[in-house]
Amino acid sequence: MNILYGYELSILQGTLLTLELSILSLLISMILGLLGALGKLSGSKALYRLINAYTTIIRGIPELVLMLLFYYGGQVFINWLAESVGYEEYIDISPFIAGVATISFIYGAYMTETFRGAFMAVPGGQLEAGVSFGMNKIQVFSRILFPQMLKFALPGFGNNWLVMVKATALVSIIGLDDMVRKASLAAGSTNKPFTFYIAIAFIYLLITTVSNKGLAALEKRSNRGERKE
């Protein structure tokens, strides 16, 4: 197989990095989203305002601008911090960490809204039923609210994942060797940009198609208790 002029392995490595970055960011943004949703619903006004500012600001600014801000700004900030505690050497943030941190932080805001909506969608009667059985708060949360919430969160969660996988393409701009950058490098040395960009476009299509199938199956499973019309 030599359709990519000997760059097959390089593109494959880029694909793996894209997947690694996406999955790691997904996990972190889910944790951030859960914490954010619980904070927003906790009843504390100060906490609500703080998290609301986070979700509004993050969702109002393009990912690319945030990524450039965190990448260049984070570099300056870390070094300023290191210098002020007496560390002399220059610290270089790895683009991978900058990428994961930025994407997780951005999608944490989207996940917060997804989970918040899902928590609110669980019918109050179910929680009351739990209480009437003598469950304590933690039991109601872990046995009723949380598992029921997952079902409502699934469509939004799937959508966030699909948008996020595509957003990881932006890390190529801050110098991370993902699929897009590998394709750019190969395109530069072979003078075949169309071939390489189309090739990675199809890999993205494959990822989104497989994700869609998986999400549809999950959704079907999560609705198995629903009454059929």
Binding site: I57, R59, G60, I61, P62, E63, L64, V65, L66, L68, L69, Y72, G73, Q75, V76, K166, A167, T168, A169, L170, S172, I173, V180, A183, S184, A187, N191, K192, P193, F194, T195, Y197, I198, I200, A201, Y204, L205, T208, T209
Partner: protein, 229 residues
């Protein structure tokens, strides 16, 4: 932080803002114009008619905007026949390529939004149209489309914001939009905070204004649903 460099260079940002608004405005307008007929073709049962539309929507929704813009701006140059044709006058121009990609991208997402709205038209509305003797075309023009477009609006307002944020990617192919302006200031003064926070604020204000306007429009087009009793 020293925001005086921003005030000294505010002209670059304002030019960038204008470029962003132009690109987003034009692409949204043309994208909507192509999306309405495509959504209708998508709903046609004949696969020869709906397959090309499906493929177009599938490709542009399943791949990152960054890859799409690379395919068109860098990729098309790979073909001698494009380079030697009069089309090259357009495709060697970064601004044209940016507008072209953004339009195709929003066209695909908008097609999907309108298709979804058409597919969920209440049976009663179509039956009512049939019962008064409307032909299919007349029903489409008078009943189905107005009803579907109205129901598509909330999703479409999200698409407007999506486009505003997506347009920041054009800065990667040398266009000085809002993000491009920030990148120039950052590289000139090495001041990532001032540069990107300023751009972020502009985007935030634009986003919140769009949300505000869309809410007003929504109120207007849903006015007949408001119960006064």
């Amino acid at each position: 932080m020293d925001f005086s460099i921003i005030f000294e260079n505010i002209g670059i940002y304002l030019d960038g803002l204008w470029t962003t608004m132009q690109l987003v405005g034009f692409s949204l307008f043309i994208g909507l114009m192509i999306a309405i007929p495509l959504a209708i073709l998508h709903s046609v049962k004949n696969p020869i008619v709906n397959m090309p539309v499906r493929a177009y929507v599938y490709f542009f929704r399943g791949t990152p905007l960054l890859v799409q813009i690379f395919i068109i701006y860098y990729g098309f140059g790979q073909f001698e026949w494009i380079k030697s044709s009069s089309l090259w006058y357009f495709f060697e121009n970064a601004y044209f390529c940016a507008l072209f990609t953004l339009t195709l991208n929003t066209g695909a997402y908008t097609t999907e939004i309108i298709r979804g709205a058409i597919a969920t038209t209440p049976f009663g509305e179509i039956e009512a149209a049939k019962s008064v003797g409307m032909t299919r075309l007349l029903a489409l023009r008078r009943i189905i489309l107005p009803s579907a477009l109205r129901r598509a609006f909330p999703a479409y307002s999200n698409e407007i914001i999506f486009m505003l944020h997506g347009s920041s990617i054009v800065s990667v192919i040398t266009i000085v939009d809002l993000t491009g302006a920030a990148r120039i200031i950052n590289s000139r003064y090495y001041s990532p905070y001032e540069a990107f926070i300023t751009a972020g604020l502009f985007y935030l204000i634009l986003t919140l204004s769009i949300v505000f306007i869309c809410k007003r429009v929504e109120k207007k087009i849903y006015a007949h649903f408001v119960r006064t009793c």
